[in-house]
Amino acid sequence: MEYEAVIGMEVHVEINTHSKIFCACSTAFNAPANTNVCPICLGMPGVLPVLNREMVNKSVAAGLALNCTISRWSKMDRKNYFYPDMAKNYQISQYDLPLCYKGRLDIEVDGQVKSIGITRAHMEEDTARNTHTLGGGISGVDFNRSGVPLLEIVTEPDLRSAQDAYAYLTTLKQILQYLDVSDCNMEEGSLRAEANISVHPKGSKEFGTKTEVKNVASFSGVAKAIEFEIARQIEVLESGGKISQETRGWDANRGITFSQRSKESAHDYRYFPEPDLMPIVVDEAWEQRIRKSLPELPLAKKRRFKEQYGLSDYDATVLTSTRAMADYLEAAVQAGADAKKAANWIMGDLQALLTDAKQEIQECKVPPAGLAEMIQLIESGTISGKIGKDVLVEMFASGKGPKAIVEEKGLVQITDEGALVAIVRKVLADNPQQVEQFKAGKDRVIGFLVGQVMKASRGKANPEKVNEILRKELSA
């Protein structure tokens, strides 16, 4: 039988405010345990939480970018459960009136655009972290993360495959980073993804029983876990079994999902309105203010790059993959660089240097204007393209300007006819065999000879001139 998979995602992103959602404690990552804590985020009785205004601003911005409706009226609720990650035995979240709802996000899979429904995006506080490495039948609780602001983004069950889920996650991450509302760093826990997965016979209207896969450390891990889970569920059904509704973990080493907790004993959270926090009213004016402040989003930027700069779809995709990279290209163009040439340098040599140095483009020592200047040196014939590569390496290492490097190292291209003729003649004299071959009609040998001249000039000869002179000398 043929099956179809139905997948919905729940993503928690940490909103990158300076202070926590309900108190002034810092949200800094990696602080020593229990040092960014106060009576509010420790969950002491009798304290008064107050909502961080920037959390609302950033959450609305994310909601608008996800084409959501923004609630005029919204409120916080208490989600009740007992677990050592919450001392007060409830998490402050949003239940029936989320800040953002009914949105959609367009994703691209295999060149096809799919629209993924966003059910809701709501604000909540993160919980404490438990550590199980202390040994001796005990666990430790660190409240630094308790009260860190989270936006939980829930999709409709509109995803159909692991690729869909992967595309959704990368597109979502890209948008949130463009908006500067979250770092989306999975390693630091600022983005966590859970997938709800079910399968049913193709054509059937009814969805199958779903399982939830949690605690996956990377996007590719999520995709692999979904792939595994779809295959596992089909196998269970094919062999006449039943899917039990449960939470499953992902074992990245073994590449399998495993049962963690049966939903039959799942919590009944008994939500009720949080009496300590006042309702949130985002009026038209506030929403418009945020809407106007939204940056150009990746898809719009990509389209503009293709139109305005004549870049290919692939180049435009790569160059708009992060806002920093797009800004870099535009700054280089502004400084006078040809867009396509700048694009090639950024995606080629500069990207290779960045990857080697494990740097992001915004950290690199080559300013966009420096790259533009270097490209102009090539265009004006001052240096060859090959020397340009070496100059860029030096710029990247030292932060010096291209002109200074060219002068210091004497890299100015040799275009002087006399000097070039001398080198060419020496090369011809040193390679009589190749000269013979050329004269016998083997035209390709010219490439070898040009290479020898370039080598002899240590890359400084103008290759076009060399070619011209070589041919003249050989036919003499």
């Binding site: 405010t17 300076h18 202070s19 002034a24 404690c25 810092s26 949200t27 800094a28 020593p32 345990a33 229990n34 040092t35 960014n36 804590v37 106060c38 009576p39 420790l42 107050v50 909502l51 961080n52 205004r53 920037e54 609302v56 009226w73 409120k75 009740n80 459960y81 007992f82 677990y83 050592p84 990650d85 919450m86 998490q91 009136l97 919980t127 438990n130 199980h132 202390l134 039948g137 005990i138 666990s139 430790g140 609780v141 660190d142 409240f143 949690k214 605690n215 973990g249 963690q260 907790r261 919590h267 009944d268 008994r270 309105p273 009496p275 926090l277 006042m278 309702p279 949130i280 009213v281």
Partner: protein, 101 residues
């Protein structure tokens, strides 16, 4: 007949992690039933033209600005904990490694 069954009392007690004896269960079955009956009384009112009340206080948009301030000294934060090791609050070993939320 109470509007609440004994099983419902036991379920709610379980969620609240309360252990109740038979007498308490019977009493709560009675009391919770009465509360629900009172809700029925309220339901007799026509509220179709009344805006839902979202909060007992008529205030909205109470915010704080996003400035990180001082936190407690760790020693002070941990001082009153039943068990702590100078860094962490100590609890009995958690077997289910999954978070509750």
């Amino acid at each position: 007949m109470s509007k609440i069954t004994r099983e419902q009392v036991e379920y709610v007690a379980g969620l609240a992690q309360l252990e109740l004896d038979d007498a308490a269960k019977a009493r709560l079955q009675q009391e919770m039933g009465e509360i629900l009956s009172y809700m029925d009384k309220l339901n007799e009112l026509d509220t179709s033209n009344v805006e839902p009340m979202m909060h007992a206080m008529e205030m909205t948009n109470v915010f704080r600005e996003d400035c990180a301030g001082e936190s407690l000294a760790r020693e002070a934060a941990l001082r009153d904990a039943p068990q702590q090791d100078g860094e962490y609050f100590i609890v009995p070993k958690i077997l289910d490694t999954e978070g509750g939320a």
